[in-house]
């Protein structure tokens, strides 16, 4: 019905010259201008993304030449002596003397902090959203949704400040310090008094992405047909069993999608991590408590001084870092799609009675 109207309207509003007659008109309606317009609109985000990637790529190209493979296998990222006269020549490219660019530490920092965030946030957000979505009385559902959306809209710098002034110091004092005395591997070195480091960043990132994942999950839970839920109840299944056999199978694909969205946010988060990471350079994260850096936070932290590099290689290299970040985000997105598709068979779309 709707598509009929969509087809009819543009043809009516743009009448053809009389002579060309019905034939051309029919040909035009076969092309269906509405679909063409919608298709073009749908293409815009893809084009914008492609343009962006192309721009970053061409900005990064000199650095790709200069750094070669060692960019991906080394941890030292230094712009060299920006004020000296010595220059570094490699592969026909020029950089400041002593410049050396390796992204590996930042990649590890980004992946680890986001992984921590994901591992903490997904169970909390999904569990909470299901619990509240199924158990909270209807009158409180709407306020909960508003609350989650408000939370999701808090600027990340606020989370950063909270992390460094309140949450981090508390963690450092009450959690990290006692644990670090045990001398466990990965859980001892590098505790700072305000808690700046990998775990704190991961946890703050978790707090930031919980509302995102939770509000999507809540919507998903609301979309589960009540009739099916009643079917579980009518068999005498408990609410926990009902969640397992009804709710989760209906929404697990959506949960993957929501998690990917949250993960992408965590991977790209800049300012909050910049504040809480401790911004450690040229080192792998030595423990969960130790300062580190991510790709996004490093770009933000270094761009200012990179712009003073007269060879331009510092900025090119930061662009290359950005390129790696974009690539990882894209890979995560496609992996999420793949997982979602391979998960569960088919959830009904207008099938059955």
């Amino acid at each position: 019905m709707t598509s009929f109207h969509l087809k009819a309207t543009p043809a009516d509003s743009a009448p053809l010259p009389q002579r060309q007659g019905a034939r051309a008109r029919r040909a035009l309606s076969r092309v269906d201008p509405m679909r063409v317009v919608l298709g073009a609109l749908a293409l815009i985000p893809t084009l914008v993304l492609a343009f962006l990637v192309y721009k970053i790529f061409s900005e990064a190209w000199p650095a790709i030449r200069f750094n070669g493979w060692s960019f991906f296998t080394t941890k030292t990222f230094t712009m060299g002596n920006l004020y000296g006269s010595a220059l570094e020549h490699r592969n026909g490219q020029v950089a400041a003397g002593g410049a050396q660019y390796g992204v590996l530490a930042f990649v590890l920092g980004t992946l680890l902090s986001s992984l921590i965030a994901l591992l903490v946030a997904v169970p909390v957000a999904v569990g909470g959203a299901i619990l509240l979505g199924e158990k909270l009385p209807a009158v409180l559902q709407a306020p909960l949704g508003v609350f989650l959306e408000l939370l999701a809209g808090i600027p990340s710098v606020v989370f950063g400040l909270w992390g460094v002034y309140s949450f981090g110091p508390w963690l450092s004092r009450s959690v990290y310090a006692p644990i670090s005395h045990l001398g466990l591997p990965w859980l001892s070195a590098g505790v700072s008094s305000n808690g700046q480091g990998l775990l704190t960043s991961g946890l703050v990132l978790a707090v930031m992405i919980v509302p995102i994942i939770a509000s999507i999950t809540r919507e998903l839970v609301r979309s589960v047909p009540g009739n099916t839920r009643e079917g579980a109840a009518a068999l005498g299944l408990t609410s926990a069993e009902s969640v397992r056999v009804v709710t989760l199978p209906f929404i697990h694909r959506g949960i993957v999608a929501a998690s990917v969205l949250g993960l992408a946010r965590a991977l790209g988060e800049t300012i909050a991590v910049l504040i809480i990471s401790g911004n450690a350079l040229n080192t792998y994260p030595v423990s969960l408590f130790a300062p580190f850096s991510t790709m996004a936070s490093t770009i933000a932290a270094m761009l200012d001084s990179a712009l003073t590099d007269s060879t331009g290689m510092a900025v090119h290299s930061l662009a290359e870092v950005g390129l790696v970040l974009v690539s990882i985000t894209l890979v995560v997105n496609f992996a999420g799609r793949y997982i979602a598709r391979s998960l569960g068979t088919n959830v009904p779309i207008g099938r059955g009675a």
Binding site: G231, A233, L237, V246, T345, G352, A353
Partner: protein, 284 residues
Amino acid sequence: MSPTVNLSTGERRPLLRPGTSEVAPTADDIVLSTQHVSFFYGDVQALSDISLDVHRQEITALIGPSGCGKTTFLRCLNRLNDMVPRTRLEGQVLFDGEDLYAKSVRPIDIRRRIGMVFQRANPFPKSIYENVAIAPRANGQRGNLDDLVEESLRRAALWDEVKDKLKSSAFDLSGGQQQRLCIARAIAVEPEVLLMDEPASALDPVATQAIEDLMQDLKRDYTIVIVTHNMQQAARTSDRTAFFTVDQRPEGRVGVLVEYDDTNTIFTNPKDPRTEDYVTGRFG
């Protein structure tokens, strides 16, 4: 039907916990008894003063025009209406002589003993096999459930159609197949009472016949309450028939029980002219 299959669900929980007050005993052959039951969705009354006894090992048919409250009434019998917010039940429902709505009664325990097949098929988003096996497993049955699944699917007249694709999604089935799957799911836990809300409305004559055979078969051990719009089906299968209708009152349309009697009487010699009009097809 293979006689080696053991459909026993094992231990059943007692309906009432110790310390529950006694209620008036009812005749032993009465499984469910509603006494002056009225039901409200918010402020809107859907049922008024329904008193009806469901007899053990019988098939009780509920008939009546659309919207007269048959489904609502059925859902009062397994406390499924508890799940609908802002609803209220007045009067009493007795299950084996005990107050179904007593504070000490857990709806979950009730629903394991009073099964239900819904008006619209509502399979779980799981495999065909899992749909049948979930509830027995949740009730504590261990080990291999293959025989139980097969037996339940056979009785619901679905086995031959699905035996080669038990692992595929229940949503791959047609609407009628899904409905039979829901019947298989309900009988797999061997409820004492089976509430069926128009189970045959999406089925072809062959499957309908199979379900009616199943009902006769189940009747030997269990009790069935069935809602149907099909007069022949009610006349054919049931022992007793209750005719509900909508009563126009100043405060709104309310479902009432007009007449409840032996099916034979309802269809051949009803006392109320409204019943006669309905069963003979003269109803508006």
